[in-house]
C-alpha cells in the first residue's frame, strides 16, 4: 500500500511542478490533469472511493476538459506571453507561500500533531454501508441547508455566465443594423 501511496504522491507533486514550470499552456493543463488523477488515487488509498470517483469525474473529466477546450480555441501557442517578470504581486505571493509553508511545517512537527480519536465513519462502516449511501443520506438530512445554498450559488453563477455570453453575442448584430 505504501508503495502505491509514494507512486501517487510523486505523480501529484510532479504534476503540480509541471503546472508551474512548463511554458506550453496545454502541457500545464495536462500536468494538472495528472495531479488531479493522482489525488484520486490517494483518496482510494484512504478508503474514500466515492471522493476519488468524484475527483476524477468532476476535476479531471469535466473542468480540465473545459480548460483544455478554451486553450485549444484561443490557440495560445507562443511562449512569449508567459515570460516571467518580477513585480510586487509576485514578491507578496512568494512571501505568503513561505508563511503557509512555515505554518504547515510547524503544525506537523509540533508535539500535538498526533492522530485524533476515530471519527463517526471509520473505513469498516463505509465499506459496510457504502460511501454513496452515507454521503447522500447526510446531504439530504443533516446538511440539507448548506447543500441547497451551494446549489443556488451555482445556479446564480450559471445564469451570470449565460447573461454575459448573451450580451457578447447580441452586440455585433445591433451594430449591423
Amino acid at each position: 500500500m505504501l508503495v502505491f501511496f509514494y507512486l501517487f504522491a510523486a505523480a501529484a507533486v510532479l504534476g503540480a511542478l509541471g503546472v508551474l514550470l512548463l511554458r506550453n499552456p496545454v502541457y500545464c493543463a495536462l500536468s494538472l490533469v495528472a495531479t488531479m488523477s493522482a489525488l484520486g488515487g490517494v483518496f482510494i488509498l484512504l478508503n474514500q472511493e466515492f471522493v476519488a470517483a468524484i475527483q476524477i469525474l468532476i476535476y479531471a473529466g469535466a473542468i480540465m476538459v473545459l480548460f483544455l477546450f478554451v486553450i485549444m480555441l484561443l490557440n495560445l501557442r507562443s511562449d512569449e506571453q508567459f515570460i516571467a517578470r518580477w513585480n510586487p504581486g509576485k514578491v507578496v505571493g512568494i512571501a505568503m507561500a513561505l508563511v503557509i509553508l512555515a505554518q504547515l511545517v510547524g503544525v506537523f512537527t509540533s508535539a500535538s500533531a498526533t492522530l485524533g480519536p476515530a471519527g463517526e465513519y471509520p473505513a469498516e462502516r463505509i465499506a459496510k454501508e457504502g460511501a454513496v449511501e452515507i454521503v447522500g443520506g447526510l446531504l439530504v438530512t443533516q446538511y440539507v441547508l448548506p447543500f441547497e445554498v451551494a446549489s443556488i450559488l451555482l445556479m446564480v453563477a450559471i445564469i451570470g455566465a449565460v447573461v454575459i455570453a448573451k450580451r457578447q453575442i447580441a452586440k455585433p448584430s445591433q451594430e449591423g443594423r
Binding site: 488523477s37 484520486g40 472511493e49 473545459l66
Partner: protein, 364 residues
Amino acid sequence: MELLLNPVVISLVKVLVIILLFVMVVGTVLTLMERKWMSAVQDRIGPNRANIGSFRGRGTLHIAADGLKSIFKEDTVPEGANRFVFTIAPFFGFFSAIVIWAVIPFAGPLGGFTFQITDVNIGMLLVFAVTSLGVYGTVLAGWSSNNKFAVLGAARGTSQMLSYEIFLGLSLVGLFMIVGSVRVSDLVAYQNTYWFGDVLPKWGVLTQPVSCVLFFVAMLAEAKRLPFDAPEGESEIIAGYFLEYSGMRYAAFMLAEYVAIVGIGALTVTLFFGGYHVPWLHADGFHLLGAVLPLPAWLVVLLQLGAFIGKVLFFCWLVIILRWTVPRFRFDQIMALGWKRLLPVCLANVAVTALVLLAVDGWQ
C-alpha cells in the same frame, strides 16, 4: 499452487482473459462485421478478396490483412503538429473503453470465484469517471494535429461528449433509486427478482424503460456513433479529430471505437437487460410457477456466460445496424436534442420515479 490462489494473481488473470480473449477479439471481429453488415444493407457482397492461396474464408482474412497493413504503414506526424501530444492522444480513448470492463460481471459466482474483475462499492461511478476521461483523446488529437478540420472535429466532439456525459449519469438515477445501490452486483442481482411471484423478471428495461432509451442514446453519443458522429462527419470535415493519423495510431482510434461498442452492449445488458441472468434461472436451477428444474452449478454458470455474451453481441449488432438505418444529425441538432429534449425528460424521469417509489413504499 500458493501463487495461483493469490488474489492479485487471480485478478490479473481475469483482466487478461476478459480483455484479450473477449473484448479485443469481439472488437476486432466487429471491424469486419460492420463492413459485412453494411454491404448486406446496401445489397453488396462486401470484403471477400483477401486470400491465402485459394482460401478466402468469406472475408475473414481481411481482419489479418487490415492489421498487417496498419502495422507496416508509415506512421506520419504532420508538420507543425505537437509531436508529444499527437503521440499520446490515441491512448486516452482506448483507456476509457477498456477500464469499464473492471466492473462488468460475466456470470454468477461459482464457489468463491466471481466472474467479475472487481465489485467496488462505487460501481457505476467508476464507469462514469473513466468514460469522462475518454474525451481527452478527442480534444488532444484534434488540437495537436495542426489542421483546421481536426480542430473543428475536436470542438464538436468535446462539446458533444461533455453534454451527453450529463445525461449518461442522470438517466441512471432512476435505476439507482429503485435498486438503492450503485454497486454493479446489486444492480444485477435485483434484476433476478420477480413480479407476480416468479413470473416477470424485474429487468431494468421493464422498471425504467425511459431511462433505458436515454442511457442507450447517451452511450451512442459518447462513443460518437451514428446518428451522433458529427465529430467525424466524413462528408463535411473528412474524418474530424483523427484525420491526420495513419498506420497503427489510426488503427488505435478505430479499435477504441469498436471496443467502445462492445462496452455499450455490456453496460446496457448489465443495467437494463438482466446482466448475465437468464430469466427464471437461479443458482440452483430453473424456478417457474412453483415448478423447479434443478441444474448443477457449473451448468448454471455456463448458461449465464452464454446468455451474457449472446445479449452483448445482440447490442453490438444493434449499434452497428443503427448506423446504416438512420442519417447523421447536424451538430446543432445534436446539441438541441441533448439540452432541450433529453435533459427535461431525464429530470422528469427522476421525479416520476421518486413519486412512484414514495407511493409504493410510503413515507418513512
